[in-house]
């Protein structure tokens, strides 16, 4: 008696003390300053626009040895760095600003602004992150990780095939170590580095363009109408909307362009007429291609208002794989008219000559329109490009279209590289869903004393989820992902980015579907790595003799504290609208990063203490974090209000407290009703519901029947013994005669 009271008092004091510690831990986290130097750093607008870029940023940091720098030159722009010795300037290398060259958004939907230094032989010699908006790098993973990641490029040649992941020497692929937990960010960063470096290396002659076999055209002898040319794809359209470049739409496109290659006899003749076509071809050197462009609508010019003689047309270019072809004034010819029947009226026109001998009309190529995108919040302009791919119809090419293998998109590579693990993960999710949907059969096989028919599956789910999903694949879902979606929805939604993290992507599909089918319980109770870890600790505690110290908070207190998690979630959401960095910082209330992504012992002590404290507390109270603090759990609990399929109840549940007493989640109220938002679908109450030695109405009926010598029929769908309906004597007699 005395001992029991002591135990109870102990439980209460651990509960209070540790809960206090959790709160204190949270406060420590919140009061720690944000350690991020370049997170949303304010950059001078001149950095993006001034010809003297290096006056606004320390270019020497990425190009050691250089003491003076040129103005921005080239298209896309870069600067040259020189070393002065004995009054003589020698070229040391090149410095480029990533946003001058590429518009690849990272996880946040915004680009990582990177200053890149490359020596005169095309080797990277310096990389500096000037600005990023990656929430994941804010706290969970130190920004130094990105710096360390970038250092892997130093000394590497720009023409090498560099990819995230394992090196594949047989395919000449150099592998880079990813940042664990920030795969999406580094995949984007790798593209930024390789494309930026490559663009400059090609301009300065370090990278030679790829030579492709030239096209030999077939003259079909036809003259086609505009619509026919468009339908077959030899004339194509590229439309850019104002909103694509950060402007409010006025109903008019930003630019609406049509273009096509004129060398193809049928196309050239249809557009220019026989004479025009022949005149044009007579003026071209072998291997040169003529491209016509007309603007049919739009508020912007494709030639550029600031175009000067001898200058470069900086708004349009042609791209073929990694090679880019730009146009100078000498590459321009007047287009005097479009003769194809049904051609639209236009306000601007040009013929550009693609002079690179390496360009081949036999392969796919892209027409690119370059623009500046205005960032409303900062007023800064970033570079954006819009392209349209074309591939000539096979009937114009001798021998048809050549064999061509399109390189895989980075996200697709990721899926292919990890195909086996992804398949295993999908199998796990499907298996859990199937097992749960067959719960009726399982709970009937189990009883109050032996819950293994259910638990064998659930515990397997936990162990796999902790080991494989949590520690190995690092696919612990997090509230930060929910916040990131909200923001991507506002800024830039790119499927490719979310697809780059296959596990998280698949997990969320599973979560969304199962929340609406059964509620958050299937994810939280069976598959969340942290939730599983914390309940597993509780179960282990029970097995190793700590049961007497384990307990629940009193129901009235629990019923108050359970609201805290909703407050945490809504608070985070609200804060994220004002300041994403602050929200991300506050999201450290989730110990997930510390536990799975970075590791308990790789973080500063407040984080470790907080995560370890929560896990320690889990030994004595079942899932304290899930019940009271988890913002992710809360965000899933809210839609769980409208889950389709709930658990079963009998009318007697209103007065019987047996299930409520056994519910580890304290989700059953005094009237026997289950709060789906709090229920973690452990199925303990469903085992009881079917157990004729535990569920009081069933026990009663079992005893009554046994006493009356009646058979014990199976338990029906409604949770009661299937009633014995006496067959009327007459009917029975009839049955017998007929039988």
């Amino acid at each position: 008696m005395m001992f029991a009271r002591l135990c109870r008092r102990f439980q209460r004091s651990i509960a209070g003390g540790l809960l206090g510690m959790v709160m204190a831990g949270a406060l420590v986290l919140l009061s720690e300053p944000v350690r991020a130097d370049s997170y949303e750093a304010a950059l001078p607008p001149e950095l993006h626009s001034s010809p003297r870029m290096c006056d606004y940023v320390a270019c020497t940091e990425v190009l050691p040895g250089a003491d003076s720098f040129s103005e921005r030159r080239g298209q896309p722009p870069f600067v040259e760095g020189y070393k002065t010795e004995g009054g003589q300037k020698t070229l040391v290398g090149y410095v480029m600003l990533s946003t001058d060259i590429v518009d690849i958004p990272a996880y946040s939907g915004k680009p990582v602004v990177t200053l890149i230094g490359m020596d005169a032989t095309g080797h990277f010699v310096g990389v500096k992150i000037l600005k990023h908006s990656e929430p994941i790098l804010l706290l969970g993973i130190p920004e130094s990780a990105l710096i360390k990641f970038n250092q892997q490029y130093l000394g590497k040649f720009v023409g090498d095939q560099i990819e995230i992941g394992k090196a594949r020497p047989e395919e000449n692929i150099i592998g880079l170590d990813a940042i664990t937990g920030a795969t999406v960010t580094v995949i984007a960063q790798n593209q930024v580095m390789m494309v930026s470096g490559g663009e400059v290396a090609k301009q300065v002659g370090i990278l030679k363009p790829q030579v492709r076999p030239p096209a030999t055209f077939i003259d079909t002898g036809e003259t086609l109408t505009w619509d026919q040319l468009v339908a077959e794809g030899s004339v194509a359209r590229l439309t850019v909307k104002p909103q694509d470049v950060g402007l409010v739409s006025t109903g008019q496109p930003y630019v609406d362009l049509w273009f096509g290659l004129l060398n193809v006899p049928t196309v050239g003749r249809s557009i220019l007429g026989k004479d025009g076509y022949e005149r044009l071809m007579a003026g071209l050197h072998p291997g040169e291609q003529a491209l016509f462009v007309v603007k049919t609508d739009g508020i912007e010019s494709f030639k550029g208002s600031g175009f000067v003689r001898g200058g470069l047309y900086d708004r349009v270019q042609v791209r073929q794989e990694r090679d880019t072809y730009t146009f100078r004034d000498l590459d321009y010819l007047n287009l005097y008219g479009v003769l194809a029947a049904g051609a639209p009226a236009y306000t601007e026109s040009a013929i550009f000559i693609v002079r690179g001998k390496t360009f081949s009309a036999a392969y796919p190529w892209q027409f690119v329109f370059l623009a500046n995108k205005l960032d409303k919040t900062t007023g800064a302009k970033t570079f954006a490009n819009f392209d349209r791919e074309v591939w000539l119809p096979a009937r114009y090419l001798e021998g048809g279209r050549p064999a061509y293998k399109r390189p895989d998109a980075p996200w697709l590579k990721m899926w292919k590289d990890r195909a086996v693990e992804i398949a295993a993960f999908v199998v796990l999710l499907v298996a859990v869903a199937v097992v749960y949907s067959r719960r009726d059969a399982l709970v009937r096989r189990a009883d109050r004393k032996n819950k293994w028919p259910v638990n064998a599956f659930k515990y397997t789910g936990w162990v796999v989820s902790i080991g494989f999903v949590g520690f190995h694949a690092m696919a612990q879902p997090s509230i930060t992902q929910v916040l990131t979606w909200f923001h991507s929805l506002l800024f830039q939604w790119k499927w490719e980015l979310f697809l780059s993290d296959p596990f998280i992507f698949i997990f969320w599909i599973f979560i969304i579907v199962t929340v609406f089918l059964w509620g958050r319980g299937l994810f939280c109770g069976w598959l969340c790595p942290f939730g599983s870890l914390s309940e597993l600790l509780y179960k282990v505690g029970e097995r190793i003799g700590l049961k007497r110290f384990q307990g629940k908070l009193p129901k009235p207190l629990h019923d108050k504290l359970k609201w805290v998690k909703y407050g945490v979630f809504l608070g985070l959401l609200a804060v994220s609208f004002f300041s994403m960095p602050l929200a991300e910082k506050l999201a450290e209330v989730e110990p997930f990063k510390t536990t799975f992504l970075v590791g308990l012992f790789n973080r500063s002590w407040p984080y470790t203490l907080f995560a370890a404290g929560l896990l320690g507390l889990s030994i004595f109270i079942e899932r304290p974090f899930c019940k009271y603090l988890c913002p992710l759990g809360a965000s899933l609990a809210m839609p769980t209000t409208f889950r389709w399929f709930g658990l079963k109840r009998k009318q007697e549940c209103t007065s019987c407290n047996a299930c409520a007493h056994g519910c580890g989640s304290q989700a059953i109220d005094a009237d026997g009703r289950i709060d789906q938002r709090e229920c973690l679908l452990c199925l303990d109450c469903m085992v009881l519901y079917h157990d004729d030695h535990a569920c009081p109405p069933l026990v009663q009926e079992r005893k009554r029947r046994t006493k009356a010598g009646q058979p014990l029929t199976p338990i029906g769908q409604d949770g009661y013994f299937i009633p014995i309906i006496p067959v009327p004597a007459g009917a029975a007699a009839k049955e017998t005669t007929h039988g």
Partner: protein, 141 residues
């Protein structure tokens, strides 16, 4: 009588027993129109303030459609209206659906139920309107 199979007492809106099409139409109307005559007779002030705010928030969407509204202000108004909608509904249509969305079981809404309902519905409605305006180029972020 308490129904242990649902979190709160069962409720039957007038349309619950009607023909399926009539009921679905009435439900759609319920999603879009939070007020009711009963609500007005119960809590005139809340209903009237709600109505006024609804007019304001509609104006905000229209302004946004004309390209006159920033994304931040739009979201702010939408959240504000959602909070008000919770209050209006609690006095005018204080019930939520239980179980499958195509079913005909309803139950009394607690504040939390209503909060979840309005948050979820308005997230969908808001996202739909917002993305439409964004696609049309009327809201730029």
């Amino acid at each position: 009588m308490v129904d242990p199979a649902m979190l709160t007492e069962p409720v039957e809106p007038a349309y619950a027993a009607g023909a399926t099409t009539r009921r679905l139409a009435a439900e759609a109307w319920d999603h879009l129109w939070p007020w009711s005559r009963a609500g007005f007779s119960r809590q005139k002030l809340v209903q009237a303030v709600g109505l006024a705010l609804a007019v304001a928030v509609t104006t905000v969407w229209v302004l946004a459609g004309m390209g006159e509204m920033g994304a931040g202000a739009l979201i702010g108004w939408w959240v504000g209206w959602s909070a008000c909608e919770v209050l209006v509904r609690l006095s005018a249509k204080p019930y939520v659906k239980e179980g499958p969305w195509w079913g005909r079981r309803y139950r009394a809404a607690s504040v939390m139920d209503m909060l979840c309902y309005v948050a979820f519905k308005n997230l969908l409605v808001g996202a739909l309107l917002f993305l439409t305006l964004k696609a049309l180029g009327r809201v730029v972020v």
